[in-house]
């Protein structure tokens, strides 16, 4: 006991410096995970919020109900669509942008770096409002341009399939900047001697790209893919602001489904169960990614 007190006193300062951060993380990150599991097994709603006596333990009913809920299945399918269509585009376009910007060192290239990164720092709500205007069927800039070249305007946010694509376009536009920076940082880290050696051996530009650059970018490609993937599984603000999940739930995502059930309908238990399924999907996808990349990334 005396030892413990002496130890505590000896290490007092690091613990004091750490304490606020640890306490906040405990209360708002760690404890909620366990609470979330607990809540998902109850019928907690607005009455339960007012008085805890109104909360009943209902086992896995929420989970059973979720899988019979057409809206939830649709939200999962939509989320799969977002991920499958969006992630490859983000990786491909941000890699292309990084390669192009890395081509030269003059001022104009760093200018483009700023231009491409700019959408990433701006507010998602503002950006969604602006794109909502661009997509407007009657007055939007996009349809005006299409009409100008003799194509009929599209119903960007009303057509069930196109609405999903429209949201993906906006989100890709916004995601390019950050991921481009990650690729740029990696490109700067490739030793110049590799290229010099290849040049002596008579390698063409394309061969350098194929056999030096791309292999050297393996880890950052993995990093970008996995963070983008996790981000897209949680796709939320774009459908929430631009379409509210419509038309007919066609753009609803899992995250939006959870938000609406939790905070619009106050079905806390039901929404918590949904959030836990989302969490499991993220964990599984992450594990699969790591397993698939184990051999070639960490060598």
């Amino acid at each position: 006991m005396k030892n413990l007190v002496r130890n505590l006193n000896k290490y007092k300062y690091p613990y004091i410096f750490l304490a606020p951060a640890i306490i906040v993380l405990l209360i708002f990150s760690i404890v909620p995970i366990f609470l979330s599991v607990g809540i998902s097994f109850t019928d907690m709603n607005i009455k339960g919020l007012a008085n805890f006596n109104n909360i009943d333990f209902i086992g896995i009913s929420n989970y059973i109900e979720l899988f019979q809920d057409k809206d939830f299945t649709q939200a999962i399918l939509n989320t799969v669509f977002y991920v499958v269509v969006g992630v490859p585009f983000v990786v491909l376009l941000s890699l292309t942008a990084a390669l192009l910007i890395n081509y030269g060192t003059s001022k104009i290239f760093s200018f483009f770096r700023v231009v491409y990164y700019a959408p990433a720092v701006t507010n998602i709500v503002a950006v969604a409002v602006v794109w909502g205007f661009l997509y407007n069927t009657n007055y939007g800039l996009l349809n005006t341009i299409l009409n100008g070249v003799g194509i009929d305007g599209l119903r960007w946010l009303q057509d069930p399939l196109l609405a999903k694509v429209s949201l993906v376009i906006l989100a890709v536009w916004r995601a390019i900047g950050l991921n481009m920076l990650i690729f740029l940082a990696a490109l700067k880290g490739i030793p110049k001697s590799y290229y010099e050696a290849a040049k002596i051996d008579g390698a063409k530009k394309f061969q350098c790209l194929r056999y030096i650059t791309l292999p050297q970018l393996r880890f950052s490609t993995f990093f970008v893919t996995i963070t983008t993937l996790i981000g897209w599984i949680q796709f939320f603000e774009e459908p929430m602001i631009m379409t509210e999940g419509g038309p007919l739930g066609q753009t609803n995502s899992m995250a939006l489904f959870i938000y609406q059930n939790g905070f619009k309908q106050s079905q806390f238990g039901y929404a918590a169960a949904g959030s836990f399924i989302l969490f499991l999907i993220i964990i599984i996808v992450t594990l699969i990614q790591f397993r698939m990349n184990k051999e070639n990334v960490w060598e």
């Binding site: 004091i16 750490l18 483009f112 507010n123 920076l181």
Partner: protein, 274 residues
């Protein structure tokens, strides 16, 4: 012959970048130009590029008739509170970077593990916790859950870990207290990382959306992003007004970003994601 080929390469690259750049920037240009149009001009077919009769009416309406001044004030409070969070992150980073103590490794893994938790999982329980604390509809409730960011602690640890121990030892021998050392010695040395984190904290606070939306039920506590989403719902056809609201959110960030972009970019490259 050879130089000409290289030049052609470069021209193609610049043309491609310019095309991409136009796509990236058109929404912002269109937003700003539309925000100075009368609401009737914003829906003209075909649309005008530059406003025929430039007007500040949209901005006046936001601040005089709508509550955007309140939203702006709240947003600034949120940003300031987030700076306290940055200090907490810096302190934690310092403890991890410069001290040896029992449980250090476990605590560090604990901090990093919180990065993997999606916000949708914690949002319902956090709401309930804040409700129990009586913090619904308060500025503190809006800010608290996002105050500590594991990734920022990690960056502070990386930077402060590199500060020579001798510096602190010398100060201790001179009789300086630990807090004096942290605030008067460590923080000034850490200016480069503080600059980067400061800008990122500002951007995060300014753009914060989900928590203010959930926690603030009273318009008194809305931030700009919540106010703007409300504005879109209520003025669905007044695009000029919507664009003015969006400009208020985007332009200050753009200005700050342009001034400090060099620091952000360099901080990013040196912070070790390679």
């Amino acid at each position: 012959m050879k130089t000409r080929k290289i030049k052609l390469d470069k021209i193609i690259v610049i043309v491609l970048l310019t095309l991409g750049g136009i796509v990236m920037f058109t929404p912002f240009i269109w937003m700003i130009l539309t925000s100075f149009k009368h609401s009737s001009e914003a829906v003209l077919i075909p649309p005008t590029l530059f406003p025929n009769v430039p007007t500040l009416d949209n901005y006046k309406k936001l601040f005089e008739e709508l509550n955007f001044l309140v939203y702006l004030k709240n947003t600034i409070i949120v940003v300031l509170l987030f700076f306290i969070g940055m200090l907490i992150n810096a302190m934690a980073g310092y403890a991890f970077g410069k001290f040896k103590f029992p449980g250090k490794k476990v605590l560090f893994i604990f901090v990093l593990a919180t990065m993997m938790i999606p916000s949708q999982v914690t949002m319902i329980p956090v709401y309930l916790i804040l409700n129990q604390m009586g913090l619904i509809n308060t500025m503190l409730g809006i800010v608290l859950p996002g105050l500590v960011v594991a990734y920022n602690i990690f960056l502070f640890k990386q930077f402060m870990g590199g500060i020579p121990n001798e510096l602190m030892e010398a100060a201790r021998i001179d009789g300086a207290g630990e807090f004096y050392i942290f605030f008067k010695l460590i923080m000034p040395i850490s200016k480069p990382i503080l600059a980067v984190q400061g800008i990122l904290t500002f951007i995060a606070g300014w753009n914060n959306f989900l928590w203010p939306l959930i926690i603030a039920n009273d318009e008194k506590y809305y931030t700009l992003s919540v106010g703007l989403s409300l504005l879109k719902g209520q003025n669905t056809a007044n695009f000029a007004l919507q664009m003015a609201g969006a400009s208020i959110m985007v332009v200050p960030i753009m200005i700050i970003f342009c001034i400090f972009q060099k620091h952000i970019m360099e901080g990013f490259v040196t912070s070790g994601i390679k």
